[in-house]
Symmetry: D2
């Protein structure tokens, strides 16, 4: 199988976002035939159905990046017990116009980190509902509800020693999941 | 009790939005001591935690409108089996910075209309989770999962004859709910 | 206002259930005008709509206990990211036959304890959806996602010193919530 | 590939259950290499963790049937905006004791029928959350939120002409989903 490209979408815009740091660290655990592209969603407009016929450049670019990818990786904080509005907005934009969603069939993984112990669990439950309706097959286990702690990501941007086994196992399952679904797509 | 002001928030920006039309029609069924202010959320920025310390004018105005209100009315389409990102974004903005949410304790009602028969049911379930975490007491029954149909709102912008009893009953329950919670707030 | 009776429903049947222990400890923090009755749900049958017309004695007794109560307290573990089937079964039974639900309008509180850090958060989200549809006004904040730890409940069955402030605050909000809704019921 | 066995689990015990009738009709649309076994869940006990070490015969039989199957089919009514307690109870039983869940990795499909237009949509959302945590890969699209209507299932127990194209398309997607995941299991 050829190299596989994964689109990484982070739900936080904060400069020092734990979720973005974690996303960059976790993708280093993937095998050599996986490439990750970190997509920008902070330049997207607020979704308005009246604009469906004339999506702007940032929307077109975002959608093209999804189309090019064989897999999806969502890394997201939890705001008010759901996913951030800005992440949902990006998902909405790329699902439109009707019949032109770019999400369908792309295998996905989800994780998220929070300061508190809940680790974005409730945001992930909503995201799973959303992705199911978009026909995005989403990795079930291992779940990854991460609490931020000293050393989760080290100074060099790598997963810390204490969390390495957990995330390597997560990545191994994710890689198998993407390969299974990506393989089918190119048959 | 003095007059009660309700902030109306519609989850669609579409010019001819069924949800906005329905919102305007339904609020006409309220008693004379209720006033409704339709808030704008399409000029709000995408939420970025780094901006918490310097919220922009549209955010301040939106938050001030919530603060002034004794009740909330959410009228929303369903996008991808959840609420629109643009509605969640507005909710996120007004919940921040940490400790300065303006939502807490404001009684709310929810309804939504869709072209299909599901009537935004799944969006409303997610919205209920979100509002509970924001300490917004939300009317339970009657649920209002509305399918768009000819005559739902007539040419004069009023609820059509077939739906009038349903929405008048909904409004009566909503009014009682707002009064119960607003009353307590001013004690 | 007269004394208020609260029906306590625990989602676990385990003899040494942390949730039951916690339920018994937390209710001691209520004021003197509150009484708590711990309901049994392990003698209820599996719900079958064909039996609606002839509910058995345990079902009738359970429903009568709900009818007598002015408030509800759900204390539940999380099984497979939702509430236990046995708790949902009890809720289903008391919501039937159609038009004879005993839940409507009873104010409720929710908490739960788990061995892991998630503290039954995802179960509680589902329970909130269920209770909203039953027209049960449910306390929003403070949320109570509790992780079991040494000393949570002491040997005498009281809330431990470390958790006392949290649960007293929870109870104060719960008591105010029940009083607000119970008051309205008897007007 | 050898024949594939699917375990069918219906969330209603009602003798004339629409969901059971629909389940029997839909499985006739599968190809010849698919066999369906309709499991009984109305003889299962209420789950009690204290019984984990000594599961009774009905539980063992139910779990063995899941183990033997290469796929799962859940057909369920919606009770109080979630899945029936009796269905959740069956799921809980077969997920226990800890580490001995029989669900993991079995590909699943979901549909449900209701008298009203919502077609069990909200029950299915909760079920998706539950199945994801059990590592059950669940078919996303096509969603199947079915409203009961005259002729949905005809007198001979077949899908009626009006609904045939919809359900044949659903079955084709389901079959492909099961084959993809079952194939991987035996590699």
């Amino acid at each position: 199988m050829a190299n596989l490209l994964v689109a990484v979408i982070v739900g936080s815009f904060r400069h020092a976002s734990f979720n973005r740091q974690l996303a960059h660290a976790v993708v280093k655990l993937a095998p050599a035939d996986f490439t990750f592209k970190h997509l920008q969603i902070n330049d997207l407009p607020l979704y308005n159905q009246d604009d469906d016929a004339a999506q702007t450049e940032p929307v077109k670019r975002f959608k093209a990046d999804i189309v090019s990818a064989q897999g999806l990786l969502f890394v997201t904080p939890e705001y008010n017990r759901s996913i951030p509005g800005v992440l949902k907005n990006a998902i909405d934009l790329a699902s439109r116009p009707y019949g032109q969603s770019v999400w369908s069939g792309k295998p996905a993984g989800i994780f998220g980190v929070s300061v508190g112990p809940l680790g974005t669990a409730m945001a992930q439950q909503h995201l799973r509902n959303i992705l199911a309706s978009l026909d995005v097959p989403t990795l079930g286990q291992p779940e990854a509800f991460i609490q931020a702690k000293e050393g989760l990501v080290d100074a060099a941007g790598n997963i810390g020693a204490e969390s390495l086994a957990f995330f390597q196992n997560w990545m191994d399952h994710y890689v198998a999941w993407v390969k299974k679904h990506a393989h089918t797509q190119v048959e």
